[in-house]
């Protein structure tokens, strides 16, 4: 449960994540990123109750009624931000390893290989192409999430923006494969219908700060899909 007012947006959402991959779907400005930041603890909503059931015991991340608010680094949640936030003074390897303070280097090398970054591992982000930067950002996020040993949630903010279609498909596979051993669930944000179908995800559709519908992608986004197909054929 989450209530927050920010500028013109009045956010008021209630939902539960039950599937391995859930997509928050909505137009820009509908409050998707705000939801992710609130779960990660990067902003304090006016009212919220966020509970993780991934560990044996339920863990309260925030509960405004009880004045509980865990700081971001104590939450079993990792947030992958957009590619523009790669640390400019750290190499690709340094960026990917950043969220894995305790994990061994094997995890990092594995991620570098899977995300096609081994050859650029010693370069600084400034020397990478847009697509490569996006891949570093993804690898950095999944490595951080994998260190939570399956007791954490990975949040991804428009993770596949700026990738070509073929590259995007490969990266979706890389992310799901990488998180498979720890069974780390993902909540990602997108406004791309194709991406939602590709992930075969559970979709939470939000508009104007409210949840309109939640369910399998084929149900929730069928009307959009039809409209898109008609446009393509027409």
């Amino acid at each position: 449960m989450l209530q927050h007012r920010q500028g013109a947006l009045a956010l008021d959402v209630v939902f539960q994540i039950t599937q391995p991959w859930t997509v928050l779907f909505g137009a820009s400005g509908s409050g998707k990123t705000t939801v992710l930041k609130a779960i990660a603890g990067l902003l304090t909503p006016q009212r919220s109750r966020i509970v993780s059931h991934l560990a044996d015991e339920p863990r309260i991340l925030s509960d405004s009624a009880r004045k509980v608010f865990l700081p971001p680094h104590l939450r079993p949640v990792r947030l992958g931000t957009q590619a523009a936030t790669l640390f400019p003074h750290k190499t690709v390897r340094g960026n990917v390893a950043y969220g894995a303070a305790q994990a061994g280097p094997t995890l990092v090398e594995d991620a570098l290989a899977r995300f096609g970054l081994l050859e650029r591992a010693d370069d600084l982000p400034a020397r990478l192409s847009g697509g490569q930067r996006q891949r570093v950002s993804l690898a950095r996020a999944v490595v951080a999430a994998a260190t939570l040993d399956g007791q954490g949630l990975l949040l991804l903010d428009e993770p596949f923006t700026g990738l070509g279609l073929a590259e995007r498909d490969r990266m979706v596979l890389a992310v799901t494969d990488f998180l498979e051993p720890t069974k780390t669930p993902v909540l990602s944000v997108t406004h791309d219908i194709g991406e939602a179908f590709l992930l075969a995800a559970e979709v939470i559709r939000i508009a104007d700060g409210r949840v309109i519908e939640q369910g399998p992608v084929a149900t929730v986004l069928s009307a959009e899909r039809e409209r898109l197909l008609t446009q393509l054929n027409g």
Binding site: L42, G80, D123, R140
Partner: protein, 227 residues
């Protein structure tokens, strides 16, 4: 030349710089991330030595360190002697007097860091301390360097606070600038000239490093040599 004064000045400048760095780093970060009334007040107090005559600061420190105030009496009991007219007293005065020179470059450096980097580090589970060490400090290393050099140079050249607070005790409080003043009083212009030239050389060398190093550092970073 008065070697004792030179060594004392260097010792004072080094100690002041080290101490101020410890104080200024967290203080500057607090100023950058804080807001509102408290922040404005602290910024004003930090900047005060820039506009006050050093003698004003020296005067109040002298009074405060003396046996007339509770703080002074506590200090005397703790240290065993009044802080004024001692190296420790000089150090306290220098730290306060050079505070804006240490804090201001850090504030401008910290505030130019893209908040997106901090948010990214936060989202990856880094603690505030780790973010400060691994993101904020490396990204503002030019400002840290500027802060160090300005503090050092400013302390080397300080006169009014030292005069008010330390007097003129060889080996304890007689710094280069005081020594220069003495030499002129004694009409020993040759010695005064050597002291003054040394002070100019220190200041010029320090400023030269400020203007030289950052450019080099950024060019190396662009070529990817700094990881």
């Amino acid at each position: 030349m008065d070697i004792e004064a030179l060594l004392l000045t260097l010792r004072l400048a080094l100690s002041t710089t080290a101490l101020l760095l410890l104080i200024a780093l967290p203080l500057a970060w607090w100023i950058v991330s804080g807001r509102g009334f408290g922040r404005a007040l602290v910024q004003a107090i930090v900047a005060l030595p820039l506009v006050l005559p050093p003698t004003v600061l020296g005067f109040y420190l002298l009074v405060m360190m003396g046996p007339l105030t509770p703080i002074g009496r506590l200090l005397i009991r703790l240290v065993g002697h009044p802080l004024a007219f001692s190296f420790a007293g000089l150090l306290v005065g220098s730290v306060l007097y050079s505070l804006p020179f240490a804090v201001q470059p850090l504030v401008s450096g910290f505030s130019s860091i893209d908040p997106g980097y901090l948010e990214a580090a936060n989202g990856l589970g880094a603690s505030p301390g780790r973010i400060f060490r691994t993101i904020i400090l490396p990204l503002s290393r030019r400002s840290v360097l500027t802060s160090i050099i300005l503090t050092f140079t400013h302390t080397v050249g300080e006169f009014g606070v030292v005069l008010m607070l330390g007097g003129n005790i060889p080996g304890a409080t007689r710094t280069m600038s005081i020594s220069l003043y003495d030499q002129v009083q004694e009409f020993d212009y040759a010695a005064a000239n050597r002291t003054a030239l040394t002070l100019i050389a220190v200041a010029l060398a320090a400023l030269f490093v400020i203007y030289l190093l950052p450019g080099r550092m950024s060019r190396r970073a662009e070529r990817g040599e700094l990881a």
